[in-house]
Symmetry: C2
């Protein structure tokens, strides 16, 4: 089959890879219907992480081709959405809703790599969720978004304890930040402040539910958030970048007692203990347990209550994956969908 | 009046200080019945913070002597317990339960200093809570503990989301850590693991409700906690030291999705973003909003349901404050009560 391999920073190629097959009775093999490039794929692409002939891709929707003998919740022919972390969904950590740290967790990136025609999904029962039926073509981008960016933005909002009447600030205007805006709107937030200095992303943010846009960053950005929140800071702040600057922006924009939900993959971040201590905020985040939210998110998409698929502003054939990476790297595209 | 001044690290003296008087209509002046030395007082005593002729002391119980015209909840003669941070208890931050970051917050240490015969308490209505009557003498240590160490340990347990059936690890065997053990017991924790290598403190910890003692520290300590919690880490971890080592000990002892409640005043702590991210824990802490818990804690003490006063293992006259500091500095005493 064909699949994306990153050989070195900036060097993404579509190559022949071995066809996946059932190895364990809990496996499924799926035919990928849509995959995409994640903001986190740009870290190794830009050289911040070291790629090592890595099979890329961890977002995916597809059709089940084969199942192992122990698989009971999906059958061949089912259209499925999966999480970017394999989980058994039965261990104590999964039971508490933290499937991304399942005792059997495997990150889909690397060995599996779903920017490809097919993928073997271990622990299929604990990882995949079937849609209520075969989806209309126009729902596919939204279902694909659920696999990571929507699930991650949603988790960030839940981690930030977004709820009715709350003020929410969102740091980061990439796909995950935009999904955080959508999630905040769905969860009933009263004021949703998107921090963005790009007109196209500001527009998307407003479309997803942002009530205010803040273009300033750093101390000025924090001041603007405070001005918009009675001088106190936001009740809830979603962090969707993962840099030192964005984390401090998030923490400083939160009122004492408020909640930071952070999902930007942390790079070279050191949080100063004293400031955190006297800030008296709640901090929660990490790799999103997307599996926790998939049934609910799939239903919201199926019912056309939400349309997260709008976050994809370009579709390319899998063979043009290199172009997809380049477009996202240059911020020409917010997020590119890949069709095998 | 007489009061404690710290002139330099290790240099604590009891001196004449100006008698406090009502300055604002929201003030009360109280006669201090009991005060004490806090673990956090040892930071400047040991030179980790810079004292600058500072009026020491922030824990206190006393009798109201005078009130300003605007004070309505306490009257002269009332026996009162106060928090170590002045709060109006009416602003949005107080209303959310974060009185230690009240928009009018004043730390009692420094200008006020309750290791003294009298103290002016601003925002008396928002800071002081009267006991149901004049307390029996033997209740005074426990009421004094409520002013900080109990309130702080209780907040740490609440911040760590301690509840029925939960496993709890407590990092730090000082007074606050021991109060965290007591709080965890009251809040229904099933397993309470105290980390301590001092026999006297281990005994107190068991007395307050610890079910297990771990003497190991660092990686070995984390391994022991995991062994005691199905290999996963504790649901809830209370951090009551404030050092890099203790914070990392706490974070690493927490299972994914679990909660760290940290109240040790942070000194030279830098939290590594990547480890925090993949740890997927909740982190919440800071200066405890003791005022939130005072009514409940006073009642528990009044009803003799809890006996936090046992944390005081020595009582000295105020004039011997220097001896009290030295005894706590050498860990000869857990906590010393001072009688003006």
């Amino acid at each position: 089959m064909r699949g994306v391999i990153m050989h070195a920073p900036g060097d993404v190629r579509v190559e022949e890879r071995e066809n996946p097959r059932i190895q364990e009775p809990t496996d499924a093999v799926i035919r990928i219907v849509a995959a995409c490039v994640c903001g986190s794929d740009l870290w190794p692409y830009r050289g911040a992480d070291t790629p090592d002939q890595q099979a890329m891709g961890h977002e995916y929707v597809g059709v089940v081709e084969q199942i192992g003998d122990a698989v009971v919740t999906v059958v061949p022919g089912d259209f499925v959405v999966g999480s970017f972390v394999i989980s058994d969904n039965t261990c104590a950590i999964c039971a508490a809703g933290y499937q991304s740290r399942c005792v059997e967790a495997i990150f889909v990136d690397g060995e599996i790599g779903t920017q490809a025609e097919y993928a073997r999904i271990p622990h299929a029962d604990g990882t995949l969720v079937a849609t209520p039926g075969q989806p209309d073509e126009d729902l596919i981008p939204s279902l694909l978004a659920a696999s990571d960016v929507l699930g991650t933005g949603w988790f960030a909002a839940v981690a930030a304890e977004v709820g009715p009447g709350k003020s929410v600030a969102v740091v980061g205007d990439g796909a995950v930040g935009l999904m955080g805006v959508l999630a905040a709107k769905q969860l009933g937030a009263q004021k949703i402040i998107a921090m963005s200095r790009h007109a196209d992303r500001q527009e998307l943010a407003r479309d997803f539910g942002a009530s205010d846009i803040v273009v300033e960053r750093g101390d000025q950005g924090v001041e603007r958030i405070k001005e918009l929140t009675d001088g106190l800071g936001a009740d809830c702040v979603i962090e969707a970048v993962g840099s030192q600057e964005s984390m401090m922006q998030a923490i400083r924009s939160t009122r004492p007692g408020g909640h930071v939900g952070y999902v930007g993959v942390s790079h070279d971040v050191e949080l100063p203990g004293g400031e955190l201590f006297f800030g008296l905020v709640h901090l929660h985040g990490g790799p999103a347990p997307v599996r926790r939210f998939l049934p609910e998110l799939i239903q919201l998409i199926w019912d056309r209550t939400i349309d997260p698929g709008k976050v994809f502003d370009r579709t390319l054939p899998l063979e043009q994956a290199a172009e997809a990476y380049a477009a996202m790297d240059s911020r020409e595209s917010v997020k590119v969908l890949l069709k095998p």
